[in-house]
Symmetry: C2
DNA sequence: TTAACTGTACCGTCCAGACGGTATAGTTAC
DNA sequence: GTAACTATACCGTCTGGACGGTACAGTTAA
């Protein structure tokens, strides 16, 4: 007689995670609906129950990106070590939720996905402003590109689980470089 | 000898150029055989005469990449302004043949194309060595990532002919950054 | 009861590649 | 010198498979 609450949509998050993982590991091309459903341990019908179209799935992934991006900008603004140092450190691949959505979204951007490109442009602007406030407008771009380069290299090949042994030393040298730029 | 001299294979280069252009402008996904043939003004049959499979077409594009990469490394080693300054300047999008193959190949790398990834890794090593000889091993990575970041941003959206008005000033500030790193 | 699924069957489209045919330039036999 | 021949350089169409998406009937858990 008591109307039971409907059960939780466990598949929904699983599907999003699977989509994200496939984008990172095998790229946009291979992240098909069938592959995503299989990886999520969900039927294709179940997937389409939550995301009526692939575009809808992308849209929700971009919402997840937005949340992490906003949190990251806030953390960067409040970072005691300074925005630049925070930015470099956070640009290294650490398999955090933020890293994962970001790289996943990058795969979409590579396919020239308009909406994704717009988010990236907005994020770049935020980062650049914070960097300019930290190291000055002249050196901000240098630091920004350093971080982008770090991400760029993380994407190329280091997706499936490549080498990250000397990363520690790498970050150290980049932070030293930032210090020199800061004067 | 039997058989006559063949007519010139005009389609071959046209097809390669079209493939390159489509990779840059619309990404790997949309660079289909049909699209390439159409853009090259060649029939699909004609395309497949020269490149029996898509993989073969990619292989020839990668050969083109190799040639430009080797020439670029040589020019970088001999650059009077120093390897680092040359590297930064050459990392900005200038629509040169080298830029075009490089970005086109990047589109393939994004789809996790193994052979392409291997070439990039090799190129990175060469560049890093030259940079280390110029600005020292500690700062080499910083400069390398700056250049990569430049390319990364050129790819995301700025491919089809985005804004390059303030590029001049941008390069100036990056070169200034390099000078500071050089000590 | 109802939301949250599973499973299967199906459709239209697009893609890589196969295939058969044609055009043309040069070579050779006569 | 020209007809016959040959290798190359294409063209146009077709096919088999995969992909995004639809439809819908049944199952399970709150």
């Amino acid at each position: 007689m008591m109307g039971g609450m409907p059960r939780k949509p466990v598949a929904r998050e699983a599907v999003l995670d699977a989509f994200e993982a496939l984008l990172i590991e095998v790229g946009e091309r291979a992240a098909t609906l069938d592959a995503v459903a299989r990886r999520a341990g969900v039927s294709k019908g179940g997937l389409l129950y939550h995301f009526p179209t692939k575009e809808a799935m992308i849209a929700v992934l971009l919402e997840r990106l937005d949340r992490h991006l906003a949190a990251d900008v806030a953390a960067m603004a409040a970072a005691p070590e300074g925005a630049a140092a925070y930015f470099i450190k956070s640009s290294v691949w650490a398999d955090t939720p933020m890293d994962r959505v970001f790289v996943a979204a990058t795969r979409l951007a590579e396919v020239a996905h308009g909406e994704t490109l717009r988010r990236f442009a907005a994020a770049q602007t935020s980062w650049l402003e914070l960097l300019a406030a930290d190291v000055g407008p002249a050196m901000a771009k240098a630091v920004l590109y350093m971080g982008d380069g770090l991400y760029f290299n993380a994407m190329l090949g280091r997706g499936p689980g490549g080498p990250l042994p000397e990363v520690e030393a790498e970050v150290e040298s980049l932070l030293a470089a930032v210090e020199r730029l800061r004067r």
